[in-house]
Amino acid sequence: MNSIIFRTASHIVSGLMLLFSVYLFFRGHNQPGGGFIGALIAVIAFGLLMLSESPDYVRRQLKQTPLFMSLIGVLCLLAAAVMPLFFGQPLLTGLWWKEILPLGTPLLFDLGVYLAVIGGVLGILLKVEEELS
């Protein structure tokens, strides 16, 4: 797209959206939000950049391929799933360390969802745009 307004605005807006996406991801356990919703917002943010700049631009900014991201996500999921086994608990039990911050394996699990969905959906989006233009 050639509109300079759209181009300039998209950078600001997508930046804000990415920030919002991370915010939604973190607050998800107690308030509306979570990994899946956060991931969709992030994908839309990248989609905006893709339309205003180019798919190649998004790829360069990401540094990693989307598929790699989604594989890291799946690894996070598996790690969160397997970790309780080392503490003698059944698969996928939530483990918590609340001494400093309320951290737990569900957060890692949600991070896995977040990364996997971003990688998967963004991968398709970029590919479709590249193949069709």
Binding site: L40, S70, G73, V74, A81, P106, G119, I124
Partner: protein, 744 residues
């Protein structure tokens, strides 16, 4: 370096059966040793193994003959390509076979059963560059695999009847469920599986087909082990099914027909290896017949015959392998006077053939004696069939020794290379065949104490059969034995006219491979017709098929639920407004001539749905819906730029559109009815209450939706995310494929 590594690898392959053999010998304490490791305890599947007389007999043969076959293969396969994988496959096969005979859980047994099918497929098709080899391997796998499916069904029925998958429990509880309706069906299914594996008529033909394998494979799989798996299973289940009349009839008939018909087919062959293969069919028929009789004498005859057959048949196969190596042919018409060159092989062949013919004092003679004794107490027809089968075997044994090894050379005879300088080539067969002589002469007592008595205990429940003896005086069995030997020799005198007659006879009758090929062709034709009809490659057609199926399911769902919904409901005015807007949007989507309008309006419907979720205070769901709608509009907009304008595309035919209209209308109507029915009943509140009550105390989260996703139902999420990633990978590669197709 590479050579050293290969040698170490091959050495370990040879060592393994030896170690296993020793393990079996030292672990086993007669009459029974049980081993168990938990595997899937919640499904009642444990790694349970059971060493009793029957399984130890098989395990000993599998590992012992396995060791000799590995040694023989070292010499036989020298210089052949992919030697290591050949030995590896043999080892894998040996392990699966060992698991099969030791397993004390029928599901475990089935897993090993299928593993033997798979590994034997790879072994039979080892010469994979020959079309015939591939075809016969596939044929063996399809037949034994189909039998395996029947067996699975039978075993599951049996397991449900006995309320346990543990073999020993099933046998123990057998009297409790023998009157059940499912008992006979399970028997039939098990029989189909066992008959397919043990190559009984009319499924006998895969075994001779499997001779496309290298000779060590035939010596191992088709003498001592794989084909005996069916016999093993029948022997194992004898205490469960043995009492039924169907058991006796079907086993007796199948065994007798297989024995007689395959004996005639064996006499018709000119290839020595094929002749041996058909005579394996004959022995399997004999074994099945003996198990069908199921008396004490018959079972001891069967056990003796299993051991005898493993010794002499594996040895004879190896001898044929040596002959093949020395002359390059297995056609007996081209083989004469091998004795001076292949002296040791000749000795092995003579001893093996003596056991095959049942010449005293071999193991084969012993088993034949007991066979006649068992037959004499049962039925005169059974005895006649047995005598006839054994006469054929005597003739075959004579053909096998006389034709290639004796006689005078003439100008048709193939050149003979002296191959007996390789020790590993002649030692295994000599040892095997001589075992058939040594065991009955020297170790008969031990054989009975270690194998026969415990096996009897396992199969028949009583452990004190009479002592097995070589000489038990002049009786009917001995007279029948003599008669058999004499008649076999007489039949051999008339071998040439008999052979010509059999060639003409079998030419006139339909044969197994042809029938099999015709059935296979029909299946392939059906499959390709179905593929052409359903997989036509048009996206709109696929979508239509999909929705037709959906409509059918929905109609059935509404029809099955029956009751008409309660149509009284109250809603606020803004809810009505949203509903009317949505219907209006849908109408615009249908009527609009521009794609862009349609897509935007479709997005609007999605956003209105979001609003409804908002009204019913489901912020997470509505957010997700909003974002998904946004993304799908982006996707469709990207794709749409490349589509031709709507008014340039020809409209589908009137009939097609009518079909589409009716399908869409049906789905809409049924969905509406179903939704009304669901909402007219009060919702079950126990789950929402549970989740909202425990979300914070247990899972440290106040957002119930998220807690369900990442904690309560995390396993579902795990699966879904993996599906998302896999779908993304697939979608990305599909888009790539299209591009390549375009370029071509």
């Amino acid at each position: 370096m590479a050579q050293t590594r290969l040698n170490i690898a091959l050495g370990s392959m040879v060592l393994l059966p030896f170690v296993l053999f020793m393990w079996v010998v030292f672990t086993y304490q007669p009459p029974l040793t049980q081993l168990s490791w938990p595997w899937v305890p919640s499904l009642d599947i444990n790694l349970m193994f059971r060493l009793d007389g029957l399984s130890v007999l098989f395990a000993g043969l599998i590992t012992g003959v396995g060791l000799l076959v590995q040694l023989y293969s070292l010499a036989y396969m020298k210089g052949k390509p992919a030697r290591f994988s050949f030995h590896l496959l043999l080892t894998l096969f040996m392990l699966s076979m060992l698991g099969l005979v030791l397993a004390d859980n029928i599901l475990l047994l089935f897993v090993f059963w299928e593993l033997t099918t798979l590994t034997s497929y790879l072994l039979i098709g080892y010469n994979h560059e020959e079309a015939k080899s591939r075809k016969n391997a596939l044929q063996a796998m399809i037949i034994t695999g189909a039998g395996g499916l029947a067996l699975l069904a039978g075993l599951l029925m049996l397991g449900n009847l006995a309320d346990s998958y543990q073999l020993s429990l099933i046998i123990e509880r057998a009297p409790g469920y023998q009157n059940s309706v499912w008992f006979i069906p399970s028997l039939i299914c098990v029989l189909v599986g066992a008959f397919a594996k043990s190559a009984q008529f009319p499924l006998h033909f895969w075994l001779p087909g499997a001779m496309a394998a290298p000779t060590p494979v035939s010596a191992y799989l088709h003498s001592a082990t794989m084909v005996k798996a069916g016999v093993y299973l029948l022997a194992r289940l004898l205490p469960v099914y043995g009492e039924t009349a169907l058991w006796g009839w079907s086993l007796g008939l199948a065994g007798a027909i297989t024995g007689l018909w395959c004996g005639l087919l064996a006499l018709r062959q000119t290839d020595l290896k094929l002749m041996l293969a058909f005579s394996t069919n004959v022995v399997l028929g004999k074994l099945v017949m003996l198990l069908g009789i199921g008396t004490e004498t018959a079972v001891s005859a069967a056990l003796l015959l299993i051991a005898a057959h493993a010794f002499y048949k594996a040895g004879l196969f190896m001898v044929i392998g040596i002959v093949d190596k020395a002359t390059g042919t297995r056609e007996y018409a081209q083989l004469r006077a091998l004795k001076p060159v292949l002296g040791i092989s000749f000795v092995a062949a003579v001893v093996g053939a003596a056991s095959k013919a049942g010449f005293p004092p071999t193991m084969g003679f012993l088993s034949k004696e007991y066979m006649y004794k068992a037959g004499a107490y049962t039925d005169v027809f059974v005895t006649i069939a047995m005598v006839a089968i054994n006469i054929l075997l005597v003739t075959l044994a004579l053909v096998l020794v006389m034709k290639p090894f004796l006689g005078e050379k003439d100008n048709h005879t193939a050149e003979i290379k002296p191959v007996e300088q390789y020790k590993l080539l002649w030692m295994p067969p000599l040892l095997l065949t001589c075992l058939g002589l040594i065991v009955p002469l020297l170790f008969l007592g031990q054989f009975q104490a270690i194998i026969i008595d415990p096996a009897m205990l396992a199969m028949l429940g009583n452990g004190s059969p009479e002592a097995v003896k070589l000489w038990s005086g002049i009786n009917l069995a001995l007279i029948l034995s003599l008669l058999t030997l004499i008649s076999g020799a007489v039949l051999y005198r008339f071998y040439t006219p008999l052979h010509q007659f059999l060639v003409r006879l079998t030419g006139a009758l339909p044969n197994g491979p042809d029938v099999y090929a015709r059935i296979l062709d029909a299946v392939i034709k059906l499959a390709s017709w179905q593929t052409r009809t359903l997989q036509h490659g048009q996206l709109s057609g696929y979508t239509l098929q999909f929705f037709i199926v959906l409509a059918a399911i929905l109609v059935y769902g509404v029809y099955a639920t029956g009751a008409l919904p309660n149509l009284s409901f109250d809603a606020e005015f803004y809810e009505y407004a949203i509903g009317i807007l949505m219907v209006g949007c849908a109408a615009i989507v249908l009527a609009s001539p521009s794609r862009l309008t349609s897509i935007a309006t479709l997005g609007m419907i999605g956003f209105l749905t979001t609003l409804i979720f908002m009204i019913y205070s489901a912020p997470d769901v509505s957010k997700t819906q909003l974002l998904v709608e946004t993304l799908s509009v982006v996707f469709i907009a990207i794709v749409m730029r490349k589509l031709p304008l709507l008014n340039t595309v020809p409209k589908p035919s009137r009939r097609r559109r009518l079909v589409q209209l009716s399908v869409a209308g049906t789905i809409g109507l049924c969905m509406t009815l179903l939704m009304l029915m669901i909402t007219s009943d009060p919702l079950d509140q126990s789950l929402p209450e549970y989740f909202s009550q425990y979300s914070y105390p247990i899972a440290n989260g106040r957002n119930v939706v998220n807690v369900i996703l990442v904690d309560f139902r995390a396993f579902d999420t795990l699966g879904e995310v993996v599906v998302v990633v896999v779908a993304a990978i697939a979608a990305i590669s599909v888009v790539r494929r299209f591009r390549k197709g375009d370029e071509q």
